[in-house]
């Protein structure tokens, strides 16, 4: 497989995973914004902070109310992390390798692109039809995984796609959780009711599973356990890392490239940081340090992967 194609597959899925997560977080918070007086002290700024990296912070008028925030997060092309930009990049990647993805995947990505590039997008977001639009986008993001899963051939390309998807997902779970735990200053002993956590759990699509799995005990600890250690939760850190591990193994076996051994070892170290961690270790280390160092290591791992497999330019 061409290095350029592997690179494009990897990034196509990173962008699509990011869009998926962002739209779910937006939808959850949008619906939550209707419930006045909840315990969440919800603000659009928090949502924007998860997804937008800007030096000097986000200007107040961008997140002053729902319609401004929706516009900023979804339609604003000056915001380099907006949905429109991400989908455009995903499509650019897909377009540059149309012969390596199936017609169905291309047409689906293209269809999403046309939705976010419709001339009336901003008008819709500011109107009462905004929720309908958000639902459509959510729906299309979920369909994307269905379409890829049922049409894309397995093999190396599939492995690179999944590496992109699960590395991105892991980073997003870290960011979203970090953001939410900041609201209680990462104090794990601070008891909070389920309404406080519902927002995070719905954003990660893990609310129902949480209710079924954790029937007693303190929510703060349980939620943390859920997002880090629950192997049955497809957005937990441990789940994502195990998937990365599997696809990395396949790529390494198939390509036998120089440097792959060191890549495997550095990933092993990241994995063991989570696999062999427990609550008391995280308490001693401090939750922010635990999450941030993991984030840093993963980003470094992704760079290493790029150097070995995607260097073509």
């Amino acid at each position: 497989m061409l290095s350029r194609i592997a690179d494009s597959l990897f990034w196509l899925n990173r962008y699509m995973e990011r869009s998926d997560c962002m739209m779910r977080v937006i939808r959850t918070n949008y619906i939550l914004s209707f419930d006045l007086g909840n315990t969440n002290n919800f603000s659009w700024r928090d949502v924007a902070n998860i997804f937008c990296y800007t030096s000097g912070g986000i200007a107040e008028e961008k997140v002053k109310d729902t319609s401004a925030a929706l516009n900023f997060l979804i339609a604003d092309t000056k915001n380099l992390s907006s949905l429109k930009i991400m989908i455009t990049r995903a499509r650019e990647n897909a377009r540059g390798m149309q012969d390596n993805i199936t017609k169905e995947v291309w047409e689906h990505v293209n269809a999403i692109y046309h939705i976010v590039n419709a001339p009336d997008l901003e008008k819709k977001l500011a109107s009462s039809r905004s929720l309908e639009l958000i639902d459509t986008l959510n729906h299309h993001n979920i369909l994307y995984y269905g379409v890829t899963d049922s049409t894309m051939p397995r093999g190396q390309g599939w492995s690179f796609m999944n590496l992109g998807k699960f590395i991105e997902r892991c980073l997003l779970t870290i960011d979203t959780s970090y953001n939410h735990f900041t609201k209680i200053d990462h104090q794990l002993d601070k008891a909070q009711d389920i309404l406080f956590w519902k927002n995070l759990l719905l954003s990660l699509s893990g609310y129902e599973l949480y209710l079924k799995t954790y029937t007693r005990g303190q929510h703060t600890i349980n939620v943390l356990d859920h997002v880090i250690f629950n192997k049955n939760f497809p957005r937990s850190l441990i789940y994502c890392l195990q998937r990365v591990s599997r696809y990395l193994q396949e790529v390494i076996e198939e390509t036998k490239m120089e440097g792959s051994e060191s890549l495997q070892k550095s990933f092993g170290r990241i994995c063991s940081k989570v696999e062999f961690a427990d609550m008391s270790m995280i308490r001693n280390m401090g939750l922010p340090q635990f999450l941030l160092s993991l984030r840093h290591d993963l980003a470094e791992f992704s760079n290493q992967l790029t150097r070995i497999y995607f260097s073509y330019a």
């Binding site: 047409e107 293209n110 269809a111 073509y312």
Partner: protein
């Protein structure tokens, strides 16, 4: 309004060959389509027209128009009424093109080796020497099976009396074949019954034929050669076609930056290291192929590619240097080539062409300039064309001045009223001028032409310019067995 009334309103231009009507009667090849469409209500035709547009849009068969900083994606206009040729007409076209390609291929072989045709004074040496596309860098290079033209799209037009003329030979990187194939797929969806009833010859084996020919060019007798399609990248206007063909043929689509040359061999950079490439179907012009030999500022090509080509380690389709054979001034000599190389009479005639270096011809053209079209020899796509009957006095004076300065850069041809076909425009059937570009493939086992080709339509009323860059559209083209 029903379709029947639509047809009643159809008014052909006088003095023009109409592909559907003759003396207010419907030609036999159009009867089935005529009957089927006559029974459809007008709204349904509108719906079908809209559906066709959506099918192109969703597949990303678009080009981008920039206005107000925002790119708007547009489809290439497609007209839903097919253009129909009979098997008899088609056989004639096929024989004519086959003959022409055999001669052109012999010419390319000759001109880059013995140059016998110049020594025998059939073609003046000065004409070749002054041709910007004559590529000295490939002189003496042997190509597999002596084949230079593998993929061609020769443009035909039809005059008032129904004669087909050759308008242009495209022997470098002709595009549009994906539109031919996609147009048919769209027709299948919008008029399924009509297509089945009309006994239309199939065209969808084109990518398979092309793939076979490309594989046969591999330098050694490899059982599984690596064939790639080289594209300039996503910003090229024909990018859709590149992805379409590579997907249909199952070969990798590569960009210049994916390839490198080492020790006169071409490799592509893959996740498992370097992999040798044996055949390149390039959609990049000669000038951009190798910065070491051609334009040094080009980033699209691969440094060292021509070295590998000369050594025979990689085959390139079409061959490098083909531009000399589809030059607009060399065009006038193709009938002479047919006589010289094949000893045959020309089956499909050229449009009479006046090379303006000849003083008498120039005088004649200047006197009759209102009936002439002046073309630049080194431009295509409808650019640099002056229509004598439409141009202003000022434009004519300017072009005469330019001709006097550099006669080699211009040719003149009498204006031929292209034939018309019915198009569904603004809820009415209206005649529009068309040309025809059949796609021919030449391999070691002979020349194959898929029945039909791309019909390009000048969508503006009365316009004779069919190029997509000048407001042209296209139609599905049928060859029916009567």
């Amino acid at each position: 309004m029903t379709g029947h009334q639509l047809f009643d309103q159809y008014k052909t231009y006088s003095g023009t060959w109409d592909e559907m009507c003759t003396d207010n009667k419907i030609r036999p090849q159009y009867r089935q389509v005529f009957n089927d469409i006559s029974q459809l209500p007008e709204e349904l035709l509108y719906q079908k027209d809209k559906l066709a547009g959506e099918l192109f849009m969703n597949q990303g068969i678009t080009f981008t128009v920039y206005s107000d900083d925002a790119g708007i994606e547009r489809i290439f206009p497609f007209d839903i009424i097919p253009r129909i040729l009979t098997n008899k007409e088609w056989d004639h076209i096929q024989q004519g093109i086959t003959q022409r390609l055999r001669a052109l291929n012999s010419f390319l072989k000759d001109i880059y080796s013995a140059q016998q045709i110049i020594k025998d004074k059939i073609i003046p040496a000065s004409l070749i020497a002054s041709c910007p596309h004559y590529t000295r860098e490939v002189f003496g290079i042997r190509v597999p099976h002596d084949l230079y033209v593998h993929i061609s799209g020769i443009d035909l037009i039809r005059s008032q009396d129904g004669t087909f003329y050759i308008l242009e030979d495209n022997l470098r990187t002709p595009s549009g074949v994906s539109y031919m194939l996609e147009n048919r797929e769209v027709t299948k969806k919008i008029f399924p019954g009509m297509l089945a009833d009309s006994r239309v010859r199939m065209i969808n084996n084109y990518p398979l034929l092309l793939q076979e020919i490309l594989a046969s060019l591999a330098p050694q007798q490899l059982s599984n050669p690596t064939v790639v399609l080289l594209t300039p990248g996503v910003f090229n206007s024909a990018y859709f076609e590149h992805t379409f063909l590579s997907r249909q043929m199952g070969i990798p689509l590569v960009e210049g930056r994916d390839l490198l040359v080492d020790n006169h061999k071409v490799y592509m950079k893959t996740t498992t290291g370097l992999q040798q490439v044996h055949v390149i179907y390039r959609r990049i012009d000669d000038d951009y192929l190798d910065p070491l030999v051609f334009r040094p500022d080009s980033a699209l090509g691969i440094p060292g590619l021509m070295g590998a080509y000369r050594k025979g380690n990689v085959a390139i389709a079409n061959a490098v240097g083909n531009g000399v054979a589809d030059d607009k001034a060399v065009y006038a000599y193709v009938p002479a080539m047919i006589k010289y190389y094949l000893n045959e009479e020309t089956i499909l005639p050229n449009v009479p062409t006046y090379g303006l270096e000849n003083v008498e011809a120039k005088e004649y053209v200047f006197q009759n300039i209102e009936n002439m079209v002046i073309k630049r020899t080194n431009q295509s796509g409808g650019y640099g064309m002056v229509m004598g009957n439409k141009a202003t006095e000022k434009e004519l004076t300017e072009v005469k001045k330019a001709i006097n300065e550099m006669p080699r850069e211009f040719i003149a041809q009498p204006i031929i009223k292209l034939s018309t076909v019915p198009c569904f425009i603004d809820g009415k059937l209206q005649p529009r001028h068309v040309d025809l570009r059949p796609y021919a493939l030449c391999g070691p086992n002979g020349i194959k032409i898929v029945p039909g080709g791309l019909t390009r339509v000048a969508l503006r009323e009365g316009s004779l310019v069919v190029n997509s860059s000048q407001g042209g559209g296209s139609k599905d083209t049928w060859v029916v067995d009567l």
